[in-house]
């Protein structure tokens, strides 16, 4: 029983002599292949050539230092509590006297780990950070052979002092303007520290 009225009866037709040679069909196919040699290729030769990234692409994280080279992160835990994938863990420690050039605040993260296998690159840690410490960058997270290598510690996340990561394109003009105002405590480094106004006794 036919389910529709669109069915056709097909028969196997005897091939003609020229068709039996197969040569015209082969040449036709070769011509199509040959014509593609003159068309523009959509692929790029990564890693020699890199595709242009959006300025707000959310890739591998960076823990920033301030202008004086001190680590900005103060281990406040807001990124970890904001993280929907629970990828961030940290432990804090107290800054000792003489370490003002290393750590910005009196508390700092002694351990800071992001599990890149858990991370969904949503950028909520960046939004939650009150200290402009964590940013996502346009760098792609490298793949690895073991799971352990994908837990990034401070050795990978903290930017090096010689090659700082530029994140200004991720910040709005208002933020960049605000950062110029040194009267705000947020914008001061340890070099701008003034002696205390009130002293005990």
């Amino acid at each position: 029983m036919a389910l529709t009225n669109r069915s056709k009866t097909v028969t196997v037709r005897e091939l003609t002599w020229s068709e039996k040679l197969y040569l015209p069909a082969i040449f036709k196919g070769m011509m199509i292949t040959f014509s593609h040699m003159f068309k523009r290729t959509p692929t790029i030769k990564y890693p020699d050539v890199k595709r242009e990234m959006a300025p707000v692409y959310r890739g591998q994280h960076v823990l920033k230092r301030d202008e004086a080279g001190a680590e900005r992160c103060t281990a406040c835990g807001l990124c970890a509590v904001a993280c929907p994938a629970e990828a961030i863990t940290m432990e804090s420690a107290e800054r000792k006297k003489g370490e003002e050039s290393l750590y910005r605040e009196e508390k700092y993260a002694s351990i800071y780990e992001i599990n890149m296998l858990r991370c969904i690159f949503c950028g909520l840690c960046e939004d939650a950070c009150p200290k402009e410490a964590i940013f996502l960058t346009d760098r792609i997270v490298p793949s690895s052979f073991t799971r352990g290598e994908e837990v990034f510690g401070k050795d990978i996340l903290v930017e090096s002092q010689d090659t700082p990561v530029d994140v200004t394109k991720r910040q709005s003009p208002e933020v960049l303007e605000f950062k110029k105002n040194k009267s705000h405590y947020h914008n001061r480094t340890f070099k701008d520290a003034k002696p205390l106004v009130n002293k005990h006794h």
């Binding site: 281990a75 406040c76 970890a80 605040e105 009150p130 200290k131 205390l196 009130n198 005990h200 006794h201």
Partner: protein, 337 residues
């Protein structure tokens, strides 16, 4: 007995009750926030002005409204008094002004402060304050000092609520710290770097509404919202031994007194319980402590729905007929229908 109406809810209370206590008897959102008042401390209250309310009708005999907002912790009720708290936009504006004043010298160091997450001032500013500040002068800055080996004083954060002074006065024998100097230069201090050393001196940490007095044994160990509070007790010769343990994993990071729904310590605990007993084996665990669902500490901690339902039911009973109950803030807001 006196009949008092707070935000449209009438309650009969004994004579001599303050407006704040009457509001707390009703409960819910209409309870004015407090910073310096502490129900377990005599003569506390009257300094911070956060608990101000508008008295729109003085009493049955003298129905004139009071000319200015009054501190509800210090004003006793009169028969027929009508009080406005959340229902008066003027008052909320005035309270925002009080918050702005309290924050004038308070540093923005919540990311560093151990009190963040359970800080009364943080909650107050979020719920009643404004985002910006108009103050352009430098804030007061002090070096932190150690009061004894277990307590640290960050004078920067202090709002001069006098709670710790009253605790030391009324709970310990022989207080050695107090408020020295006056006005803008007033500060909490001991005389000539004296150590506060007393069996109950640790209670000043619990009563501090900000992070000015903190536990040195807990300093920078963890953010409070990563710790799990458990109620526990032990046989203590000095105090009731009823405490709250703050766990991270298997480890007790901190021991504090238990707090009631208004954030006030219910029973004083001794320094031995607070600082020296930090093993699970020292304690008999009663169970997880109840944390308000609005608190960041309750993030990722799950409780039964039953408690939530009782809470809604209690709010519904307190409301006039026909008004809608919503959870969280603004439940009694007239614009929130």
């Amino acid at each position: 007995m006196a009949k008092v109406t707070i935000d449209g809810i009438t309650i009969e209370v004994p004579d001599g009750t303050t407006i704040l206590q009457a509001a707390r008897m009703i409960g819910g959102d209409i309870v004015p926030p407090t910073m310096c008042y502490h129900s377990k401390l005599k003569t506390s209250g009257g300094y911070c002005r956060t608990c101000i309310v508008k008295v729109s009708k003085g009493s049955e005999k003298d129905p004139r409204p009071m000319p200015k907002p009054v501190a509800s912790c210090r004003t006793t009720v009169m028969d027929g008094m009508e009080v406005q708290n959340l229902t008066s936009p003027d008052l909320l504006e005035a309270r925002a002004g009080v918050v702005e004043f309290l924050l004038i010298n308070h540093p923005l160091d919540c990311p560093v402060c151990d009190q963040a997450g359970e800080c009364d001032l943080q909650n107050l500013a979020y719920e009643n304050g404004k985002a910006g500040t108009r103050y352009e002068f430098p804030r007061r800055e002090f070096e932190r000092i150690d009061i004894g080996d277990k307590i640290q004083l960050h004078m920067n954060r202090c709002i001069l609520c006098y709670r710790c002074v009253k605790t030391a006065d009324q709970v310990t024998d022989g207080r050695v710290h107090g408020v020295i100097n006056r006005g803008d230069v007033a500060e909490i201090s001991t005389y000539i770097q004296n150590a506060v050393d007393n069996d109950f001196s640790g209670n000043v940490i619990d009563v501090c509404p900000v992070g000015a007095l903190t536990d040195k044994t807990f300093r920078f160990k963890s953010r409070v919202w990563y710790t799990k509070p458990m109620d526990a007790h032990r046989n203590c010769t000095k105090c009731s031994g009823k405490v709250r343990l703050w766990y991270k994993g298997e480890e007790v990071l901190r021991v504090t007194g238990r707090r009631d729904q208004f954030g006030e310590v219910t029973e004083w605990i001794c320094n031995e319980c607070r600082f020296d007993k930090k093993k699970s084996s020292d304690w008999t665990i009663e169970g997880p402590a109840h944390i308000d669902s609005g608190s960041v500490i309750s993030a990722n901690h799950y409780e039964s729905l039953k408690a939530l339902k009782t809470d809604i039911e209690r709010q519904r009973m307190a409301l006039p007929h026909g008004q809608k109950v919503t959870l969280g803030h603004g439940a009694l807001d007239p614009n929130n229908q």
